[in-house]
């Protein structure tokens, strides 16, 4: 059993600990607000692509806030971020490719 050496522990224990509570609450509020904007956005009579892009961007923002703050990727070793993004990027890429494949003309389902 290796006891933790003081050296290892002295490693920066981030002074922002006190304010973490506030950060979290602020982010939660922000997430709630973005959700509200999203709900309103879908009813705005703008062209479809604008709305869809807006929604995608807003959701991505929410996504990133949760993983980087609530899941503290921001404060963790970058390897965690890389690890997760391998999965995320592959999943996103696969989903994108599938949607393209099924969107292609050759894939239209049969209409009798």
């Amino acid at each position: 059993m290796t006891a933790p050496t003081p050296g290892a522990i002295a490693h920066d224990d981030h002074g922002h600990d006190v304010s973490k509570f506030q950060i979290y609450v602020q982010i939660a509020m922000l997430l709630a607000v973005i959700t509200g904007i999203e709900i309103i956005a879908v009813y705005i009579p703008f062209p479809r692509w604008i709305i869809v892009t807006t929604l995608a961007v807003l959701s991505a923002v929410k996504f990133m806030f949760v993983i980087f703050y609530f899941m503290h990727l921001r404060w963790d070793k970058p390897f965690c971020t890389i690890l997760f993004f391998i999965g995320l990027v592959l999943a996103g890429g696969t989903a994108w490719a599938l949607l393209l494949l099924f969107g292609a003309e050759a894939s239209l389902p049969l209409v009798q």
Binding site: L55, S59, F63, V66, F70, A91
Partner: protein, 282 residues
Amino acid sequence: MSAHAATLTIDHHHDPTTSTGIPNKKLLMWAFLASDCMFFGALISTHLIYRLHPPAGGLDPKVVFSPELTSFSTFILLMSSLMMALAVTAIQKGNLKSCRWSLLATIYFGLIFLGCQVYEFNHFVFEKKMTLSNSLLGTTFYTLTGTHGTHVAIGVLWLGLMYVRSFKIAEQPSWLPRQLLHAVTLLATLVLSLKVTLGLVHALQGESTFGGAMGHFFGAEFLFLALALIGYGALFWFARPRGPVQFTEVNAIDVESMGLYWHFVDIVWIVIFTAVYLLEYI
């Protein structure tokens, strides 16, 4: 040695015994979440592909979905994520009490989310006549959101057991039966609360007057309400301080890994909320 360790502050972002400094459990969790991305990626793709090619004469999701309820449950899930994050910081600072309260809050928000989903499914099946097998929309919708719901339910279970574990008393060998009993009580009480709450909502919707609704509610749910209250009493009793517990800062990593899972379920919902619900309204 434990006394010795307790006096040291633990760096929650660096584990000196591993090659990378990342605790094993955290790494495991992140790798698992990467895998889970593919899992939900495939499921969401299925839903979107069938939305791209809706069968002729299929159900119109606009008619089926109700944005109010979903917005509410989305909000609830976001708040549960906040609570979860607070629970982790609390335990990292050794603040057990605060951690427990935050865990309970997380559990409750999770439960409300599940309640909304049960309500929603019920509503869709009986009012909107969309079932698992009568339409492609039902097939993909229930499977996707149901799988997500299962993830939430597993999360709630995990949270509950973690909460109970935080009462494990170090020096008493009799901790096992107490743990089991505590866990069972907690789960039973939670399920009962869910049932009673749904009953209340149902009653409020079904009756025109408040008094009538209450009458209906108490008529139908009295037994469960009573049981639930007894359950809460028991939970209070279980939660009485009994001496030093075996759940300290060193367990922060357990809470943290569980938190990662919980937040991930939350972000999956963020995607589902946009891709499944909101897109239909544009």
